[in-house]
């Protein structure tokens, strides 16, 4: 009617654009649908997507070095390992502050374990140094206390570093009022003494975190004196003069006296603590892993190494991952093929037998499905082992010699047999559901047209069952490529999959980054295969039922 003469967008009866009014009409419906799936969506997001994303992130994440040794990492930037010389005094000075702080916070061992993946032995270096490193702080503490005994007191430090406002609040505080007011840095002090400010902030947060004592009542960390000495040595006189607050005279006195301090070599102190600090390799590793993101885990996952001299192949005896990936791939393909070869006739019988018989067969197919995976795998152990049922029967039949019993378990054969058995239902069920929809008249029609039973099957029945083969194969292959328990139990060393290695890094070596990198590669490989499969077979041709 009027629509025919109208130009521009279509309009609803009330004059609003039709698109808008349609969207509005559908919005409620969409919202309701969204609310219905919301529980599942949230569940999946929280328990599945988020952890996976986190794990993927872990494969490149390397915050721990920069977070734990911020001053060291900053100072290391200007160091070139190619010169063959140890890093300079500023690096060791930074390390002195960082390591003491980390030791106080008890996070230095974590960093040690992290770097230990890259260079074995660093873990113990960090652990042992962590125990001794506060000797450095105590040395400076002695010097400051000699300057003025007030430096020994926590109150002096609180007065120096705390803001006036916080000092006011903290003065009236007693424990029964609840937690102490949150510590705030004095701006002028933090500006003049940046390292001291950072360390004191960490100290105050640590004390307030435990909540046992007031910040001013806690004995100051020795590292504070190291940081203060370093800051005073570098601070400009104006900044020092600008420090205000009750402890200002004390720090100004110290600043004046700092040049009279006996020279102190941080480097010597560290090398004395552990010879490893004097080795260039230690510093190379720290510098190499100081960026916040690293490709090292991925390189390790493909048998490469990140070295100061670039990317290099891992030592011969450590190259296992590529081999494992390759093995996982071809064994999964072989298992998929075995499942198809064994499952196809069964699915055909299931689809074509009269229902009384096919129901019985279906129960036989599903029965193992309802049995615990562990039980089934253990059953294979009993059957396949050298003193097991199969070997016993073969020996009894005289087919093999008692001395030459077949090795059928703890190798690839065992893994393939057990996994084929376990994954068989995943092949049979999609095949069955597709075959069920192929009417038997097609075969009859083909035969009536003159095709032999084989031609009829191959030209008419088989092509129509391809969607089932596709679905079953992709299901079995993807399950197989990530399988863990069965290879772990029956695979020995020769039959394990990449997932066993991932599990090892997750739960035993605790190298989560490498585990995440291996997992990411596995995920990517599956996605690539899936994509290729889609290109070749077409995912529309996959029917799960």
């Amino acid at each position: 009617m009027s629509d025919t003469t109208q130009t521009g967008p279509m309009r609803a009866a009330d004059g609003t654009p039709l698109k808008k009014s349609l969207a509005r009409a559908l919005r409620r419906q969409k919202l309701r649908a969204l609310m219905l799936i919301a529980p599942l969506l949230i569940f999946i997001l929280v328990t599945f997507i988020a952890p996976i994303a986190d794990m993927l992130f872990r494969s490149v994440e390397n915050q721990i070095v920069a977070d734990t040794l911020p001053n060291t990492v900053r100072a290391l930037k200007s160091w070139d390992p190619e010169t063959g010389e140890l890093p300079g005094e500023p690096v060791f000075a930074g390390l002195a502050v960082d390591l003491q702080t980390a030791a106080e916070l008890k996070i230095h061992t974590k960093l040690g374990s992290r770097l230990n993946y890259e260079s074995p032995g660093i873990s113990s270096l960090f652990r042992q140094s962590g125990r001794k490193v506060d000797d450095i702080g105590k040395e400076f503490q002695k010097r400051f206390v000699a300057l003025h005994p007030a430096w020994k007191s926590g109150e002096t430090w609180a007065a120096l570093m705390g803001s006036d406002e916080w000092l006011e609040q903290a003065r009236g505080w007693s424990r029964d009022q609840g937690p102490e007011p949150r510590f705030r840095l004095r701006k002028s002090a933090a500006n003049a003494l940046p390292r001291t400010g950072e360390v004191y902030l960490a100290f105050a947060r640590d004390v307030q975190g435990t909540g046992r004592k007031a910040v001013s009542a806690e004995k100051p960390w020795p590292v504070l004196f190291t940081a203060l000495a370093q800051d005073l040595g570098q601070a400009s006189p104006e900044d020092i003069a600008a420090i205000d607050g009750p402890a200002a005279p004390l720090v100004q006195q110290a600043a004046a006296a700092i040049s009279s301090f006996e020279p102190y070599s941080y480097r010597d102190a560290f090398i004395q603590m552990d010879k490893a600090w004097g080795e260039i390799g230690t510093w190379e590793v720290i510098k190499l892993y100081s960026p916040r993101y690293t490709p090292a885990y991925f390189l390790n996952a493909v048998d490469l190494e990140l070295t100061p001299h670039g990317i290099e192949p891992a030592p011969e005896n450590e190259r296992i991952y590529l081999k494992l990936f390759w093995r996982t791939l071809w064994m999964s393909l072989l298992i998929t093929f075995c499942c198809l070869a064994l499952g196809y006739p069964v699915a055909w019988l299931l689809a074509n037998l009269p229902s009384s018989k096919s129901n019985l067969l279906m129960i036989l197919v599903l029965l193992p499905f309802w049995t615990s995976l562990l039980v089934r795998t253990s059953a294979w152990k009993i059957l396949l082992q050298q003193q097991g049922v199969i070997n016993d029967v073969l020996v009894w039949l005289g087919l093999i010699d008692d001395a030459n019993r077949l090795v059928m378990i703890n190798n690839k054969f065992g893994t393939i047999v057990a996994m084929t058995h376990i994954l068989l239902p995943f092949m049979i069920l999609p095949l069955f559901s597709v075959m069920k929809t192929i009417p038997p008249t097609y075969l009859r029609a083909a035969k009536s047209l003159g095709a032999t039973p084989w031609t009829a099957f191959w030209r008419v029945y088989f092509p129509q069952s391809v969607p089932g083969i596709g679905a079953g194969s992709i299901l079995v292959f993807i399950l197989a490529i990530g399988y863990y328990i069965t290879p772990e139990l029956v695979g020995g060393t020769q039959g394990v999959f990449i997932s066993n290695r991932i599990a090892y890094h997750i739960s035993t070596s605790l190298n989560w980054g490498l585990a995440a990198a291996l997992g990411s590669i596995l995920l990517a490989a599956v996605l690539v295969l899936y994509y290729t499969y889609d290109k070749i077979v077409g995912i529309d041709n996959v029917k799960l039922g």
Partner: protein, 368 residues
């Protein structure tokens, strides 16, 4: 299209005392004897479960006869597997291969026979043209309508030039108009090509319009084998009479038989003339059957001395080309009379009493 080697009247397909049992306890097909001439269009008609499809499947080779012999062109085929019988078949749901195009579907029987590519293409094209589907060679079956699929299925069954084509309720899934059109197409093709056709249906109209001969199946036996007109007009027993077309039946007892007429006393008391079909002696119970269109309501048209019956009009239904009148006759409330919608035809008013009669040869005394 085919040379007639055996002569027009010699049996091309023969069922010789064929029996079939699936479970070893009951016979689905009981003692079947049937011979089909070359070029004949034979329809197996019967209710579901009457054994007609089983017979077809035995002929095609998908079921084996439990006993008896099936011969094709004089050769026993009991032990020949279906793919070597060379019989074309059209299935109920067409059974077109969904993963092949129309042309590939048609080429399939030629391919498995090892026919060369160029000859194959030519034959496929000819077969498609034959069913007026030449433009659809590249389509998939799923892209075709039911009627088009039907034509393709037909073309596929004919493309390898079989001498015998079997059709298992091929038109069951089509709507009425298309079905009527395809009935005509199939008969035309069958006669043009001179193919022997065995057609299974439960639709009697289909059977009547298409066939040279109809075998009416019931209870595993052929009840009557006859051309459509004979079957309709001279049913040999009350099952056939009931199954083919509409029928009025009245129960009674034979009083006397005189040559080709007999006198029947109805249970309601009236006496009528009838033609004895399967009654043998006076005193036999009989079911007399009269086609609704053979009942005469105009007394002037009856032979003098013919028996008439009193009838009460219960219902008058106007159906366009015909009038359908329901009467109460001899205690039967479902006595139907069909009259042509002619200008002089009287439209009977419900409630009026009339007299009806018929020619004795139209009233058949059958088994009770």
């Amino acid at each position: 299209m085919f040379d007639d080697k055996t002569g027009a009247d010699a049996a091309f397909v023969e069922f010789d005392r064929v029996q079939k049992s699936y479970d070893g306890e009951t016979l689905v097909v009981k003692d079947l004897n049937l011979s089909i001439r070359k070029g004949e269009f034979l329809t197996m008609l019967g209710p579901s479960g009457s054994g007609k499809t089983t017979c077809l499947m035995m002929l095609a080779g998908f079921e084996t006869a439990t006993s008896g012999e099936i011969r094709l062109a004089g050769r026993p085929i009991n032990n020949i597997p279906p793919h070597k019988r060379g019989i074309g078949m059209v299935f109920q749901n067409y059974a077109l291969f969904p993963h092949m195009t129309v042309a590939e579907n048609l080429a399939f029987p030629l391919e498995v026979r090892g026919i060369g590519k160029s000859e194959r293409e030519e034959k496929v094209k000819r077969a498609l043209d034959m069913v007026q589907m030449g433009d659809f060679a590249g389509r998939r079956p799923a892209q075709l309508s039911g009627g088009q699929q039907q034509r393709i299925a037909l073309a596929r069954a004919l493309v390898f030039e079989p001498e015998l084509v079997l059709m298992d309720e091929p038109l069951g899934a089509l709507d009425k108009q298309l079905r009527e059109h395809m009935q005509f197409e199939i008969t035309r093709l069958a006669h043009e090509l001179g193919i022997t056709t065995v057609y299974v249906t439960h639709d009697q109209t289909e059977a009547l319009t298409m066939s040279d001969n109809i075998a009416v199946f019931n209870d595993g036996r052929i009840q009557q084998l006859a051309p459509p007109a004979v079957l309709y007009e001279e049913p040999m027993n009350s099952f056939v009479a009931q199954f083919i077309g509409e029928n009025n039946t009245l129960l009674g007892t034979v009083k006397e038989i005189k040559g080709d007429t007999c006198l029947v006393q109805l249970d309601h008391g009236e006496l009528i003339d009838a033609r004895p079909v399967n009654v043998s002696k006076p005193g036999d119970r009989t079911r007399v059957s009269i086609r609704p269109e053979r009942v005469e309501t105009n007394k002037a048209r009856l032979q003098p001395g013919a028996h008439t019956l009193k009838a009460q009009v219960l219902e008058f239904i106007y159906m366009g080309d015909i009038f359908r009148t329901r009467l109460r006759v001899a205690g039967n409330d479902n006595f139907i009379v069909k009259t042509r919608n002619a200008p002089d035809q009287v439209r009977l008013q419900p409630g009026t009493e009339i007299e009806i009669g018929w020619l004795p040869q139209d009233c058949r005394a059958l088994d009770a």
